[in-house]
């Protein structure tokens, strides 16, 4: 199982990754709109909420 540590692959420096961390809140916002939003952020919140109703149930997120 020595292959489970990866000493021969050069890791990407954290400095380079820092910029990309800015994408994280955007992606979380997309996930939020699908799973929780009820008009709090998006204008069409209620509509989106109802539209994605089945997906939310089947993705296992609390609903109702």
């Amino acid at each position: 199982m020595s292959q489970l540590s990866a000493p021969h692959v050069q890791p990407i420096p954290l400095r380079n990754l820092a910029w990309w961390a800015l994408a994280v809140p955007v992606l979380l916002l997309v996930a939020y709109l699908v799973t929780f939003d009820q008009g709090a952020i998006s204008q069409a919140g209620d509509y989106l909420h109802e539209l994605m109703h089945d997906g939310r149930h089947l993705l296992g997120v609390p609903c109702h």
Binding site: A6, V9, A31, L51, P62, C63
Partner: protein
Amino acid sequence: MIRPLFVRGLLAGIIAGLAAGVFAYFAGEPHIDSAIALEEAAAHTHAEVPLVSRSGQVGGLFLATALYGLAVGGLFGLAFALVRGRIGPRSGSVLSITLAAAGFVAVVLVPFVKYPANPPAVGDPATIGSRTSLYLVAVAIGLLAMAAAAVAHRIFEVNGEPVRWLATGLGFLVPVTAAWVFLPVVSEVPEGFPADLLWDFRVSSLGTQVVLWGVLGVSYAYLWHRSERVAGAPQGVPA
């Protein structure tokens, strides 16, 4: 250098989301329909005019799973960029599948065991706020436990495989078990709700997430492998 890892994550995520949507359509929708029929029978009235029709909601299923897959895939691509070379398998393809399995356990399985998915008609609308918070706490604990396991795996590298894997397992299981035991219980299944319908719905919901994370890991691995082949294995070691 990071951009292709990220873009591949988005792509693999959409593929995974659509695959999960197809699974959910066939495996899950019949149970949602049955639960809604029970809900309406219990309410006796049809006064509520739906904002979105049932067929609209079924179409929305694919939109929901695709968008969710896109978001998860993007985060997955960035996590891959962060993890690669620091911890985990050396091969990019094997790392992709390992990371997807770890993500599934942390983000889906840990919360699911404590707060399983519920069909329509199950759950008190008055408690949605607290149930959502508890669910997010469970997701956070799953992620922290997985991170603790990864750190333990790294720290105990020099102590031999048995000690190392014991530490990895404990790093994950101690916080997760504590959360399962100490987080408040939510039990809101209405009196008389069919147990087999509840069970079937929950299995189909878990299956939807298995498909999503499974297809994500495999398609990301495929895209990685393909790019390595095109680039002629830049590190001199074929993945």
